[in-house]
């Protein structure tokens, strides 16, 4: 690891998260099929498709849901490159590593036997690996579409339609807001530390820098919590949470909900 590797690694992670958020917000404001729908319809419809993907016992059904996700992505102007770099390649890298050994380790009828040694591929292993990879890719594509095509605050507010308590939704919304503030704060601390480093730090010193920064961040978090609480009280907060519900259902939303739930019902029926 380079002398600044651990600092650069953290800074890169913070920058990536902020960049990811900015790109998502930008795409969510663009004009497309999913973007025009009511957030509650998107949340319920896409979650239903994710559940159908998880419940299906047939590879063909999972692949059909994946095809539906691709059509929705095209209709919503989500670039293939975005899905490739954000979802498909990372998921393939992670799940592929887990799935490949299953091709050889899963017991069952032998599909191919290696001429060198006792390695063999089984039919059951191939099916298990294909099922796992396609299922994870499809579910990840659907959840990414939800986020790329909906402003994040709308997604959180739409959670009320799933009967998530209003307090929890309020906490999620505030967390979402302060995540960026704390990422920015942590990023500044790491950059400030990096700019003052002229020599090499041994591993123990690097760990001390990282944990001290975490400790300072914790102190700032407590302070921030108190300040936010006082500010809320100054504005008259007495513990009751109210959220404005600005979502209105249009005919297009009902049609889209019927379509997505119809596909889900068909997938659940055929998939079993």
């Amino acid at each position: 690891m380079s002398q600044h590797g651990f600092l650069s690694g953290s800074i890169a992670a913070f920058t990536h998260a902020l960049q990811h958020a900015l790109e998502s917000e930008e795409l969510a404001r663009s004009d497309g099929w999913l973007q025009r729908l009511n957030p509650r319809v998107k949340l319920v419809g896409l979650l239903a498709l994710i559940v159908a993907t998880a419940a299906s016992r047939k590879l063909s059904v999972v692949l059909l849901i994946f095809a539906v996700a691709l059509v929705m992505a095209m209709a919503s102007r989500v670039q293939w490159k975005t899905l490739l770099t954000r979802v498909w390649l990372p998921v393939l890298g992670f799940t592929g590593v887990i799935a490949v050994p299953a091709i050889f380790l899963t017991p069952g009828e032998v599909f191919w036997r290696s001429p060198f040694g006792g390695v063999h591929v089984t039919h059951a292993g191939l099916r298990a690996a294909a099922m796992l990879v396609s299922r994870v890719e499809t579910a990840a594509t659907l959840s990414t579409l939800l986020i790329l095509c909906t402003p994040w605050t709308h997604v959180l507010k739409a959670l009320r339609s799933l009967h998530v308590p209003v307090e929890i939704v309020a906490i999620l919304m505030m967390t979402h807001r302060y995540v960026y503030l704390l990422i920015e704060t942590a990023n500044e601390m790491f950059v400030a530390r990096q700019s003052r480093m002229v020599g090499r730090l041994d591993a123990a010193a690097q760990r001390r820098v990282a944990t001290r920064t975490g400790g300072v961040l914790l102190g700032k978090t407590v302070q921030l919590g108190e300040e936010v609480h006082l500010a809320m009280q100054a504005r008259g907060f007495r513990g009751d949470v109210r959220l404005l519900d600005e979502f209105r259902m249009a005919a297009r939303d009902y049609a889209a909900l019927a379509l997505l739930l119809g596909i889900t019902a068909a997938a659940l029926y055929v998939g079993h």
Binding site: L105, A124, R127, A128, A139, W152, H176, A203, R207
Partner: protein, 355 residues
Amino acid sequence: MHIPDGYLSPATCAVLYGGAAPFWYVSLRKIRRRLHTRVIPLLSVFSAFSFVIMMFNLPLPGGTTGHAVGMGVTTVVLGPWGSILAISVALTIQAFFFGDGGITALGANCFNMAIVGSLVTYVVYRSIAGRSPLTSRRRMFSAAIAAYVAINTAALFAAVEFGIQPLLFKDAMGAPLYAPYPLSVAIPAMMIGHLTFAGAAEAIITGGIVAYLQRSDASLLAPFSGMAAEGAVTDARTPILGRLWAGLAALMLLTPLGVLAVGTAWGEWSVKDFADAASRERIAAASQHRALPAGVPEGLHRLSSAWTAPFPDYAPQFIKSEPFGYMLSAMFGVGLILAVLWLGRKFLLRGGNTP
């Protein structure tokens, strides 16, 4: 350890959502009582802190880097109930907005990391730290060890969830439908990484931050240290915990329902079952009509006399009523477990009284 969508069956996900729900409810009730109007702002910023701490790139011994979950430090400062909520909220934001962990698997991830992680951290931390001073090295090491044990326990839960998938969910041809590896592969594969790198990352970040707080602002460690009047010591006597005890008692009273089950559980046959013709037929039917050995298996016969349980078949022989025998056995079993836990805690805390 963030389980993505597709690795666990919907049934497993539903069970873990159901398992997590009472903990979320109890946590929210307890935290609301302690913090009043502070609940929303304080939990929000702590959830944001947990999220950010998960992104820290931590140098580990051996030249590699790792990431912590943050369950250790959050529990030490916020207590187990606050930590359950803060980590759950952070995991929700990660799942929905950063694709780290699945949405259907969110209940499982919260159960493993937020609930099991926070509760194990708290029990181990309080047990080892005892009543040592807030600024003692023992308290710092307690937090680090607690975080290490907690992340490994959470990983073990995740490994078991993975490992039971191929046992329970296969297609018509016998191919696993979800995570494909059995427990014998899933547990070592998961634990090797957590006993080494992930465990080290969690222990270092927790111990390091606690050491920093001991020097800069030890008061942050006070509320759940066992040294203050408020906190978990008084929480243990709140009505909500009382209701959990009542729930446990109700479950014990419901144990006679077990006698409604017909026959013997698969694999729990006795020598007598193998000798009886009617029982043999039932065993064969439950085993896909595979041929049974002609007589009582030699190993079963030999080992069956090695140990005689005090309550065979969950009913002491002197009790004639089977439901009452079931209930008594349940009370005895739960009481025995609680007594062992109580004695263990008493023993550990006695050690902690002498800092």
